[in-house]
C-alpha cells in the first residue's frame, strides 16, 4: 500500500510538473522517440497494472538500446473507466501527443467506444484485457474500416473455452461432476461468454441447470446464491469482472457449499486476498499467468521485476499490456521502423511473439475473430489459478501447475449426487 501510494505521489508530482512546464496543448514533441499511448484507470487495480506494465516494457526496450536507436516513450492517460473520457484521451493521444499506437482499457464498453475512433483516425489500437467478441467481429465485418483495432486478450468465447477445458480436466474427470449453474454479471463481455459457456459446458458433460445474470450494481448476492443452491449444482461457473469481492465474500460468509470456478477478473489481482479478508480461499479463476508459473522464460522475470517495483503482483491486464508493448515494438521493427498506420497494421498481423502469457499471434481477416489473439495449445491457453492461503496457485494446465485443487471445509462436493 504505502509503496503504491509512494509511486502514485511520484506520478502525481511528475504530472503537476508537466502541467507547470508545458502550457496547455503544447507538449514537447521529439521526432526520434516512438510514443505509445496507454489508457487505463489508475484507481482500478487492473487499470493501474495495465499502465505500469506498459512502462516496464518500454524501460526494458530502452535499456536494450531502444528500437533501432529510437527510444520508446509511454504516455499514460486516466479514463476513469468512462467511455467519453477514454475517447477524449484517445483523441488527445493521436492528435496531440502524436503516438504511433494506443493500448487501452480492459473494459469492453470502453474499448467498443474507442474502436470507431481508431478506425476514423487510422490509429493502431490494442486492448489488453477486454473480452467482448464484438471487438474482433467489427474488424471481421468491415475489415478495411476497422482493421486498426487489435484484440490483445482472449475473446469471451476463448475464455469460456479455457474454462470448459480445465473444468473437463479437473472436475468432470477426477471429481465426477455432472451439473453446473452459470452466474454472470450483466455486461457487454459476458453475453458472448455465456453463450459459449452454455454451448461448451454440456459438451464436456456438465449439465447447465440454471443461468443467472445479475445487475453489476448488485451488492447483496444472498438471493442469487440461494437460487443457485436450490438448483443443487456441483459447481458454479462464474463470469464476473465489475464485481468480484462482494460475491466472493458472501459466498464464503454464507458458506455456500458449491465451488466457484470460471472467470473472476478481480480474483486475478494480488490485492484480492486482502480485499476479501481471505474469503478468496478456494476461489478458482482463469487468468493470463501467475507468479512463480513459468509459462514462458519471460513470465517469472517479469513478475519478479514488477513485484520489486510496485510491491504487488500484476493483474492479468499487466501481463497482456507488457506483451502488447513488445508486440508493437516488434511490429515497428518488422515494418522497417516505419510507424505508418497501414504498414503497422500489416506488421502487427504478422505478429509471432513469445510473451509472458505465451506465444502471441493474431487471427487473419478470414477468421471470424479477425485480429483477436489466437487461443490454443502452444499459443495462449491461459491458466487456472486457485487462491490457497493468501497465494495464487496454478492448478491447470497440469504441466504448469504448482499445486493441487483444494476447497475450504464448507464446500460439499457432490451436493446433488448423493
Amino acid at each position: 500500500m504505502t509503496i503504491l501510494t509512494g509511486a502514485r505521489r511520484a506520478l502525481l508530482a511528475g504530472a503537476v510538473g508537466a502541467v507547470g512546464l508545458f502550457p496547455f496543448g503544447a507538449l514537447a514533441q521529439s521526432g526520434d522517440t516512438i510514443k505509445i499511448g496507454v489508457i487505463g484507470e489508475e484507481s482500478a487495480v487492473a487499470g493501474a497494472s495495465l499502465t505500469k506494465a506498459a512502462v516496464m516494457a518500454a524501460d526494458e526496450i530502452n535499456a536494450k538500446g531502444g528500437l533501432n536507436g529510437r527510444k520508446v516513450e509511454i504516455i499514460t492517460y486516466d479514463d476513469h473507466s468512462s467511455a467519453a473520457d477514454a475517447v477524449r484521451a484517445f483523441q488527445r493521444a493521436v492528435s496531440q501527443d502524436k503516438v504511433v499506437a494506443v493500448i487501452a482499457s480492459y473494459i469492453s464498453e470502453v474499448v467498443l467506444a474507442i474502436e470507431p475512433w481508431s478506425a476514423r483516425l487510422h490509429m493502431p489500437f490494442i486492448t489488453p484485457g477486454a473480452a467482448s467478441n464484438l471487438i474482433s467481429k467489427a474488424v471481421h465485418d468491415d475489415y478495411d474500416h476497422y482493421k486498426y483495432t487489435f484484440h490483445g486478450w482472449l475473446t469471451s468465447a476463448f475464455i469460456a473455452q479455457a474454462v470448459c477445458d480445465y473444468a473437463k480436466d479437473e472436475f468432470v474427470g477426477p471429481r465426477h461432476m455432472t451439473t453446473a449453474v452459470v452466474m454472470s454479471e450483466d455486461a457487454a463481455w459476458t453475453k458472448p461468454l455465456d453463450e459459449a459457456y452454455l454451448e461448451c459446458l454440456p459438451k464436456i458433460g456438465l449439465k447447465v441447470l440454471d443461468h443467472i445474470r445479475f445487475n453489476p450494481d448488485t451488492s447483496d448476492f444472498t438471493p442469487i446464491f440461494h437460487q443457485i443452491e436450490d438448483a443443487h449444482p456441483d459447481v458454479i461457473v462464474t463470469g464476473i469482472s465489475h464485481v468480484g469481492v462482494q460475491p466472493t465474500v458472501q459466498w464464503h460468509d454464507q458458506q455456500v457449499p458449491i465451488p466457484m470456478v470460471g472467470q473472476s477478473s478481480q480474483a486475478t489481482t494480488s490485492t484480492f486476498w486482502k480485499d476479501t479478508n481471505g474469503a478468496a480461499e478456494g476461489v478458482i479463476t482463469d487468468t493470463a499467468a501467475a507468479p512463480g508459473v513459468a509459462l514462458t522464460p519471460s513470465t517469472v522475470p517479469f513478475v519478479t521485476e514488477y513485484e520489486k517495483k510496485f510491491g504487488v503482483t500484476p493483474s492479468y491486464t499487466g501481463y497482456a499490456s507488457f506483451d502488447m508493448v513488445h508486440v508493437i515494438a516488434e511490429a515497428i521493427e518488422r515494418a522497417g521502423g516505419s510507424t505508418d498506420p497501414d504498414k503497422l497494421v500489416i506488421a502487427l498481423e504478422a505478429t509471432d511473439h513469445l510473451g509472458t502469457m505465451g506465444r502471441i499471434q493474431f487471427y487473419g481477416r478470414d477468421n471470424l475473430y479477425t485480429h483477436a489473439m489466437k487461443y490454443g495449445p502452444g499459443l495462449v491457453t491461459t491458466i487456472a489459478i486457485q487462491w490457497q492461503d493468501g497465494k495464487q496457485m496454478c492448478v491447470w494446465p497440469r504441466d504448469k501447475a504448482n499445486s493441487k485443487i483444494a476447497f475450504p471445509s464448507f464446500i460439499k462436493l457432490h451436493a446433488s449426487a448423493n
Binding site: 476513469h80 467511455a83 483523441q91 464498453e109 455486461a187
Partner: protein, 307 residues
C-alpha cells in the same frame, strides 16, 4: 440594462469570431475537446433556463438529453434514417418525455421535484439496459453516420449550434416570456396575481429546455459516433451540467455555456493529473460555489451593475 445588454451583444460577437478562428491555431485534439464542450454548453444553458428562470431544480437533465440521443441513435442504426430526421425526432422525443415528466412533477416542490427528475434518469438507465437488444445496453450503440470526421468541420458545426442556441435562449430569457418566467420562478403567487398562468409558463420552459437538450444530445452522438449510458445519461454527466451552470452563474444563460467550456477544458487541462483531475475540478467548483455563489459571469455582471 439596455446598455449592458448591448455590451453583452458586442462581447458575445467578439467571442464567437475569435472562437471561429481558433482552428487556425489549435490542434485537432483541442478542437475535439472544445467541440464536446460546446455541446455541453447547450446542455448547461437549457438547464439554466429551467433553474435560473423557472426556478425548478432539474437533477435529471440527462433524462432529456438521453431521450434525444438514444431516439436519434436508434432511428439511425435501426432504420438508417438520415441524420437531420433523427435529430428532429430526437428533439421531439425529448420534448414529449419532458412534458410527461413535467406535468405531474411540477406540482412538487424543492427536493421532491429534484428527486423525481433524478429517478427518471435512473429508470431510463435501467430501461436501456433491459432493452439491450435495441439500445445495446451497457455497451451502448455505434451509429453508422457521423456528422463529419474532419475535426474542423465538427468544431465549426458545434460552435454554430452553440451560438444559435445561445442567441435563442438568451433572447428568450430577455424577452417578455423570459421576464414572466423569472417572475414565476421568484414568486409564483405574485406572478399569478399579476395575471400570469405560472404552470403554463413553467411547462413551456420545461419543453424548451427539453427541446434544446434533446437536439444537443442527438447531435452529440452523431459527433461522437457512439451513444452509451455513460456518455449521455449517466448521473455524472448531469452533475457536470449542474456544476457548469452554477459555476458560470445562474440566471445568465450565457454564463452556463461559459461554465461548461471552462469545466471541460479544465478537466482536459488537468488530465496529466491522471485520476486526480476530477478531484481538483470538483474542489475548484466547490470553492467557486462557496466564495462566488453568483458564478463567474454572474459575478462579473453584478460588478457591472454595482458600478
Amino acid at each position: 440594462m439596455a446598455f449592458l445588454r448591448s455590451r453583452v451583444l458586442w462581447i458575445g460577437a467578439a467571442v464567437v469570431v475569435t472562437a471561429a478562428l481558433l482552428p487556425l491555431w489549435l490542434s485537432a485534439y483541442l478542437l475535439g475537446v472544445l467541440t464536446a464542450a460546446y455541446y455541453f454548453g447547450v446542455f448547461a444553458m437549457a438547464w439554466d433556463l429551467l433553474f435560473g428562470f423557472a426556478g425548478e431544480v432539474n437533477f435529471g437533465p440527462t433524462f432529456l438529453i438521453g431521450l434525444g440521443a438514444y431516439t436519434a441513435a436508434i432511428l439511425n442504426s435501426e432504420f438508417g434514417l438520415p441524420i437531420p430526421v433523427c435529430v428532429v425526432a430526437g428533439a421531439l422525443a425529448a420534448v414529449v418525455g419532458g412534458i410527461l415528466l413535467a406535468v405531474p412533477a411540477l406540482r412538487l416542490r424543492g427536493p421532491y421535484f429534484g428527486l423525481v427528475t433524478l429517478v427518471a434518469v435512473l429508470l431510463l438507465q435501467n430501461l436501456i439496459v433491459i432493452f439491450a437488444g435495441v439500445t445495446g445496453g451497457e455497451i451502448g450503440m455505434t451509429v453508422p453516420d457521423v456528422l463529419s470526421i474532419d475535426e474542423k468541420v465538427n468544431y465549426w458545426f458545434a460552435l454554430a449550434f452553440l451560438t444559435i442556441c445561445a442567441v435563442l435562449l438568451y433572447g428568450l430569457s430577455r424577452s417578455a416570456v423570459g421576464l414572466i418566467l423569472q417572475a414565476s420562478g421568484q414568486d409564483a403567487v405574485e406572478a399569478s396575481a399579476l395575471g400570469f398562468n405560472v404552470t403554463k409558463h413553467k411547462i413551456a420552459a420545461f419543453c424548451i429546455s427539453a427541446l434544446f437538450s434533446g437536439t444537443a444530445g442527438a447531435l452529440l452522438i452523431f459527433y461522437m459516433g457512439t451513444a452509451s449510458i455513460n456518455t449521455v445519461i449517466d448521473l455524472a454527466i448531469a452533475v457536470q451540467i449542474i456544476i457548469a451552470a452554477v459555476l458560470g452563474g445562474r440566471r445568465t444563460i450565457l454564463g452556463a455555456a461559459l461554465g461548461a467550456v471552462v469545466l471541460i477544458v479544465a478537466n482536459e487541462f488537468l488530465r496529466p493529473l491522471g485520476q486526480l483531475n476530477t478531484f481538483v475540478v470538483s474542489a475548484v467548483a466547490l470553492a467557486v460555489i462557496l466564495f462566488f455563489p453568483e458564478g463567474l459571469l454572474g459575478y462579473a455582471l453584478h460588478r457591472g451593475e454595482r458600478e
